[in-house]
Symmetry: C2
DNA sequence: CGTCCATCTATACGGATGTATAAATCCGGG
DNA sequence: CCCGGATTTATACATCCGTATAGATGGACG
């Protein structure tokens, strides 16, 4: 394996247990057994390397979620949403540093257009994907993923995912539990129909 | 005004238009017309100063939101939620750097227990406050803010707020619009009742 | 007026970091 | 075998940052 692959691997490992912002070029060298200058040679800069690695990890994470949401082909949209939220919360504990990496990257993206573009693209792809799942669960061939109803539901589900993760990051103890979310949602809608 | 107040003011100003992470001690000195050593003298450290300022700004922001949510005493919970989401999205454009400061602070909080404690406390207070509003709109004297139904709804509303803000930060163009959220929510629940 | 404490000033220190440079090494092809 | 481009190595550089230190200043008070 060349230094390129070694560095990419090390970056992924570090992202998953040290976060993004506090990884130094020398950390990457130590974890990969390569050389300081190889970072610049293969990736242009430290951030170039980190961002390349981050994209991969991010994508895998959303892949895993999509798989869960699709597990039961007969689930209703709400059931899928609930399942997704529950899964997010369930796996959060293992992925704390990774989640932190996303948050740090999000902050960093404000000053790094390339990174921002990359993250936005992943986000958009995720939204589209969720919209597709929603469309499928309509069971109506005329309803496609780009139907406003589907994108709306997708945006909503993902907003809850993001918000959940954020609240959990700050205070796991008091963060909402999935069944409460579902109850809250039902209650919210029920009360407005009186 | 002593250096203490000058620094606090400068910190708030910088937080609102430069974010958190990239403020240097020398920025604070320049913006306040004080002295490098005054930071240490009055606040112990640069982060001490920044965190003190951040707490204030954060609190004002949630105050403003609560006021909006309470504007119409006859609104249903869902109407309040919708109004809150719409308001968040509406004001986001003015508060971009501030929102970024929160995200950066959230990342920083992982390595700064005092900051984390402080942010978690504000979050908790906010959640309680929203729960109180929800309880009020039940119009039932037996339902209090600590009723699970209220805290559940509150957690849910805030999760959506957070998620919305996050998506908007990354990509304002394609972030969900409040009316779509509402439509998505209704659709989600309606479809699950078939 | 003189003392003393709080506050303010100017500067130095120590350290860490990302990147560039130049030399060494490797390896495939002629 | 040997050449040359690709890669790897070792190190130097330049910069920036947070904080500590030591002394100046100012004003309240006896």
């Amino acid at each position: 394996m060349g230094h390129r692959e070694l560095l990419l691997d090390a970056a992924r490992r570090l992202l998953e247990d040290k976060g993004y912002a506090h990884i130094t070029a020398r950390d990457l060298v130590a974890a990969s057994g390569t050389n300081l200058a190889s970072i610049g040679y293969h990736f242009g800069s430290k951030n170039g390397l980190l961002n390349a690695a981050l994209g991969d990890v991010f994508e895998e994470w959303t892949d895993a979620l999509a798989e869960v949401a699709l597990a039961d082909p007969h689930a209703s949209p709400l059931q899928r949403a609930h399942l997704t939220w529950a899964t997010v919360l369930l796996h959060l504990a293992d992925k704390r540093a990774l989640l932190l990496s996303f948050v740090e990257a999000l902050a960093q993206a404000e000053r790094d257009p390339a990174l921002r573009e990359q993250l936005a693209e992943v986000q958009d792809r995720t939204r589209t994907r969720v919209a597709e799942i929603v469309a499928t669960s309509y069971g109506d061939a005329d309803v496609h993923a780009d139907d406003p109803r589907c994108t709306a539901v997708a945006g909503f589900i993902l907003a809850v995912c993001d918000g959940l993760a954020l609240q959990w990051l700050l205070d796991p103890q008091r963060s909402p539990r999935p069944e409460h979310l579902l109850a809250g949602l039902n209650d919210l809608v029920a009360r407005s129909q009186n």
